[in-house]
Each structure stands twice: as structure tokens, then as C-alpha cells.
Symmetry: C2
Subunit: 225 residues, 2 copies
């Protein structure tokens, strides 16, 4: 869910994130200022205790300004989530290009590293755990996670010759779900992140995927076919 959506472009029907596209430059600053304020508030009170008034005050704006840009309270959270996802994507790219990758494992490791890094440095990053259990488009979350799994699958297929297919996507989806849970646990209390859970997350990722995609497993697949 939270790791879900990573690497993905907006899902086709971007649900009108902002009401008004900023025309003047000052409003662009307002917009990011609002998100910065929201991020700070998220760190202080958590994202379900957040109120529009808090965000406005923290941003040095008035309630009306918040509503000028966002249709409602959750839209702010969605936007913050979106920004966090974008920054995460960027971080993953940075991490990948800064590392020498010798196997798919290194790529997966980079993803974990990026996620952990942002948890530590990006204000309000816990927003990635925000899941709108709304009535309307529940499928969005699933589609989101699925989309990320697909993108990651593409990378692993193209760069490391993993066998493409629905199985790979499904397993990456499972891996995302598990990593998400373990890292959320690692940072649930500890703002630095409990190293034990982080390390165990890396280990689980590797073991789980190794079952199917270790060199040995791949050899077996190759000889069997």
C-alpha cells in the first residue's frame, strides 16, 4: 500500500489533486508551503489527528487558502502522500545510480535503503502509510501497489534477466507488502528506526525472492524447460 505506487506515474485518472493550478509564482510557494506545514503537523499529531486549521496556521495562511488549493482535508493528505512517493522515486533512482549493481538483490536493497532514508529525513514521511479507506475507489490502492510491482518487475527483468510474468509481479507485490509492514514497525516508535527490524526486512526480502530467483532456482527453471 505505502511502498505501493512507487516508481509509478500517476494512475491515469488523476483525481483532481489541486483545485487551481498556480498562475502566479507566489502561489507555487504557498502550495509547497502548505504541504510542508502538513508534513510537520503529521509528525506532531499523526495524520488522522490533523486538522485543516493546524495546517493553515502552521503555513501562516488562513483556512480559506487551504481550501483554495485542496477540495477537502483528505486531498491534502493525498497530495502529501503523492509528494512523498515522488521523492521516494527520485531517491530510489539516485540510490540505484550511485551503487554498482551486481544482481537483482542489490536493486531490492537500494529500494529498502531509499525507503529507510526517507523515513529518517523526510518530514511527515509516515504519510506513505496513509490509506484512504473511502467508499469510492478502493481499487486505487490495489492498482497502485500492482503498478509499483509492475515497474519494479520491469527493472528486474530488463537489468537482471529475471523471468517476466504475472508470477514475478505477484511476488514483488507480496514482498512490498511485507517490507512495508516491517519498516513501518521499525519506525513505529523509534524515529531512527529499529535496526533489528530493518536488517530483518532485508533478510526476508532476499530469502523470499531467492526461493524463486536465486541463480540456482533460475538454473532449475532453465533446465526444466
Amino acid at each position: 500500500m505505502s511502498l505501493g505506487g512507487l516508481l509509478g506515474e500517476e494512475t491515469g485518472a488523476a483525481p483532481q489533486q489541486v483545485r487551481t493550478e498556480p498562475i502566479q509564482q507566489r502561489s507555487a510557494a504557498r502550495l509547497s508551503g502548505l504541504l510542508d506545514a502538513a508534513a510537520a503537523v503529521v509528525d506532531e499529531v499523526g495524520f488522522d489527528r490533523i486538522t485543516t486549521a493546524m495546517v493553515a496556521e502552521r503555513a501562516g495562511a488562513s483556512i480559506g487558502t487551504v481550501y483554495r488549493y485542496y477540495p477537502d482535508r483528505v486531498a491534502v493528505l493525498h497530495a502529501l502522500h503523492e509528494r512523498a512517493v515522488v521523492r521516494f522515486r527520485q531517491r530510489v533512482v539516485d540510490e540505484l545510480s550511485a551503487s554498482t549493481l551486481t544482481s537483482w538483490w542489490d536493486a531490492v536493497d537500494c529500494v529498502v535503503t531509499a525507503f529507510v532514508g526517507l523515513y529518517r529525513t523526510e518530514p511527515g514521511f509516515r504519510i506513505v502509510n496513509f490509506d484512504d479507506r473511502d467508499g469510492a475507489p478502493v481499487a486505487d490502492v490495489v492498482a497502485d501497489a500492482d503498478f509499483f510491482a509492475r515497474r519494479l518487475a520491469d527493472v528486474l527483468v530488463n537489468e537482471f534477466d529475471l523471468p517476466a510474468g504475472d508470477d514475478l509481479i505477484f511476488r514483488l507485490g507480496v514482498a512490498v507488502e511485507m517490507a512495508d509492514a516491517l519498516l513501518a514497525r521499525a519506525f513505529h516508535t523509534d524515529p531512527i528506526g529499529d535496526e533489528r527490524f530493518i536488517a530483518e526486512c532485508r533478510l526476508v526480502m532476499r530469502d523470499y525472492l531467492d526461493r524463486f530467483y536465486s541463480p540456482q532456482a533460475l538454473n532449475l527453471l532453465a533446465t526444466a524447460s
Copy 2:
């Protein structure tokens, strides 16, 4: 978090779940009636869309009655969560005694089976995923999960001779976190539960714990010491 707390007695400082302990028998019925109503509403609108008025109306009571028993809205959710956990514990016990257990794996499997069964039959069981990101007692959730891991560890140590210790408890905590995430995913959309995720959950549990507690791994441990 959600599987967390299973098998555990209430954490020492039970945070005043109900305002008034029921004295007369009719109020006991009221209390469970309120929870039944809350469970139904949870299934209909989800546990963040729930309103006290909905619960009251569904239970055939008035708003005031809800507040007689619960200090606020989230207290109702906490109570429902608590009841779900209790029923889960019972189900695990039933499941364990109804099965012939030949190894620790069977016990773990029973836990998964019990969880899945309740997801399918217990109204509002998704409340187990309710995690109050409140300011106050964040430690409760952690302590909760830890407590469950301890209890499960006790069972596995006593019944199947797994090596006791903090490592076992930690790993069970990790397993709980992962199972929780995968089963929540399985039931996120599908009310019957996506079998693929359920099966993968069982597989992951076994593989992960096998790494440390398979007969082979235990033999290595024994010979090494």
C-alpha cells in the same frame, strides 16, 4: 499490530475500557448489543466512517447510552478490537485442540487458519487492523504485539522444544507483522479473501521460520553448542 495482542491477557494497565461496569443484566446485553451494532457498521462503512449516531441507532439505543459506556468514539473501536482479539484467541485454542500437531509448523498454520476463519465469519473483524495512532500510549501497540509473540513463543517452546529466548520472540514478532500485512491484503477487497495471498502467507511463515527452526537448523545449533 492486529495479530499482535493475540493470546495475551489485557496488558496490566487496562486503560478504562468502559466507563461503568454493568451491574444489571440488561446493561450487559446493551453493551454487547452496542458492539454488535458497531461491528455491523464497521462492515458497512469501514471503521473510520463510523459515527456514534450510527452505532446508537443500529443498537436501538440513544446517543447518550453509547457515551454511558464508552468515553468517546474511538473507545468503542478499541472495545470492538479487544473483543475481536479475545474471540481470535478462543478460535486459536479451538483450532489447536482440534488438530493433531506434529510440529511447530502445524501450530503456526492453526493461527493463520483461525485468523482467516474469523475474517470470513466474524462481523467487523477487520477492526483488528485498527491502530489508534494516538499520542498517548503508543507503546501499547508494541507491547501488545510483543506480548503475543511471547505467548506464542511459550507454546512453541513447551510443545515443540524450540529454543526459548529473545531471538524466538523477535522472530515471531516479525512473522506476526508479515502475516498481518499479507492477510490484510488478502481481505482488502475480497470478502472471501484472496487465496493466493493466504497461501503465500503460509508459505512465507514456514520458510522464514524454517530458516531458524527447521530440524536441520536445530541440529546445527545443537552440534555447535
